[in-house]
Amino acid sequence: MDLRAYVLRRLALTTLVLFGVLVVTFLLSHVIPADPIGAILGPQAPPELVEKLRREWGLDKPLHEQFIDYVCRAVRGDLGRSIRTNRPVLQDLLEFFPATLELATASLMLGVLVGVPLGTISALRRGSWIDHAARVFVTLGVSTPVFWLGLIMLMIFYYRLGWLPGPGRLDPYMTPPPRVTGLILLDSLLAGRLDAFYSALRHLAMPAAVLGWYAAAGIARITRSSVLEVMRREHVRTARAKGLLERIVVLRHILRNALMPIVTVIGTTYGGLLEGAVLTETIFAWPGLGRYSTGAFLYLDFMAVMGTTLFIAVIYSLVNLAVDLIYAYLDPRVRYG
């Protein structure tokens, strides 16, 4: 199978999964809740309003017709209207997504920058103090609830020490740079606003550190075991035997071969970061998807809850697709296997 055939097959699979995702969100929004309208309007709603809304949303039609409607609307990008913001859900999602993207990307970068070297060193120096320290770092990282860690850091570094700014993406008195991408760091650079860039960076530091630790822990763990496994292989022994510099053995012969599982874990970590964002955004008053969706739940804003679920599943599936394609590109065995 050549690369193109592989890509096509993988794309077909993703389409299938996305269709399945639509089935799941449909079931969760139309079938399981006993009374979606009641959940939205509350128990005291006048019956004629309930009836009107039922007809408007097509809830009086048979289930399969409802499903077809749902799929057609979702494909067109119509995820319904939020009762809280009274705007189309998709418009809300696109407005809130960049903040989450910025946070998740910064955390992932931190995670890779810390996790890959840490995992590599602790594998190369197996059993040393640095390996033990790395294990503690990893185990604590995957065991600490991110929402709690965020609170504790806020208490220490903002309220007690005052080293870092508090909740929000920018200092409160600062006018934000004109919105181009929605990523404040990028927008402020585009507008040449270094003051806004600096402020945004300082605001990003704490939430990104909280989620970055979680990301680094997972990445370090997989890197360590992957490097350990490659180190045992014979080509590494040969490379050493012919007297190559240790640096070259590590970079070219070990890390290069250990890269596969690391790429995979970076992809799955991204999903974990989306979850982490949901849990930490409220604490840091970070105007992203997480804060939007938790707020939507508390207002029983059902369309918004399901829209966010769908949106995140689509993003996550696309990230997984990207990881698999990178994987196939890096390792010919995947596409020929």
């Binding site: 399945g20 995957v142 929402f147 849990l279 996550y316």
Partner: protein
């Protein structure tokens, strides 16, 4: 038969020794044992009624009368943390028992029989892996409404596919071994082969995954409660308690800190024990 049982007991004892001989395994085992004991006798140890409000005693800092302080309604935080142990542990244990059993059975069937059943089941698990776990659990919990039972249902719904995949992969490895063929040759039925000859080969993998999963489910359940999709107030659930203390973090740090520590220590215990088990069995887990 008797001999086989004796060796398996001896094997388990050996394993236990191997796990306990590593520092992390030992620490993990101690924490987990402590949690189990606390969840049994915690209510006896608790100095106060975890639901009893006393507005004259609200937001008191840690002291001899209230070692962990009191919360915004004057409830004793130590007592609430002790009661919460039982809640978190029973959620985690029940969810893991349910999802591991479902995943184990489906994985066995899927790997052993292969074909269309296998294909269909694997596509279903693909679907579950298309959602980050918490997000799907949130959506299920939102559809069902907040309560402890629904939290468990939501988490179990998103947790079984990992087990199904893992077990299936193991079954594929042993399916064509000679001893299975031999068993078939003497005329053993599918059920007998599956449960007497295949199951013992995958149990340890499930055990390791389940132990690690207990840690992540405690975090997941606490997270759901934290955002208001889990246990409703006034339940002394750890995640909910952290959330309730959020408003007071500036000066009354103890309200959120102690329940959060409890979550962290529990997850830490299961993760350390799981890691040690994994090393002892030399199991490779992948998601």
């Amino acid at each position: 038969m008797e001999g086989a049982r004796r060796t398996s007991i001896r094997g388990s004892l050996l394993m236990a020794r191997l796990v306990l001989s590593s520092p992390t395994g030992f620490a993990g085992a101690v924490i987990v044992a402590g949690l189990l004991i606390l969840s049994l006798i915690g209510p006896v140890l608790a100095p106060y009624d975890p639901y009893k409000q006393d507005m004259s005693e609200r937001l008191m800092p840690p002291s001899w009368e209230h070692p962990f302080g009191t919360d915004q309604l004057g409830r004793d935080i130590l007592s609430r943390v002790l009661y919460g142990c039982r809640i978190s542990l029973s959620i985690a244990l029940l969810v893991v028992a349910i999802s591991a059993t479902i995943g184990l059975l489906l994985g066995l069937v899927s790997g052993y029989f292969g074909g269309l059943v296998d294909e269909a089941l694997m596509r279903v698990t693909d679907l579950f892996f298309a959602f980050p776990r918490l997000i799907l659990a949130m959506a299920v919990a939102a559809a069902l409404g907040p309560s402890i039972i629904n939290t468990m249902l939501a988490i179990a719904t998103v947790s079984w596919p990992v087990y199904a995949r893992l077990v299936r992969a193991c079954v594929l490895q042993v399916r064509n071994e000679t001893y299975i063929e031999a068993a078939r040759a003497i005329g053993a039925g599918h059920v007998r082969i599956l449960f007497r000859h295949v199951l013992p080969m995958v149990v340890h993998v499930v055990l390791v995954q389940a132990t690690l999963d207990l840690g992540s489910i405690i975090l997941l359940a606490a997270g759901l409660s934290f955002i208001g999709l889990g246990a409703p107030p006034p339940t002394p659930e750890w995640g909910l308690m952290v959330s309730e203390g959020r408003l007071y973090i500036r000066s009354q740090w103890w309200v959120s800190t102690f329940p959060g520590l409890a979550i962290m220590i529990s997850a830490l215990g299961f993760n350390m024990l799981g890691d040690a088990l994994r090393d002892a069995f030399d199991v490779r887990l992948g998601r």
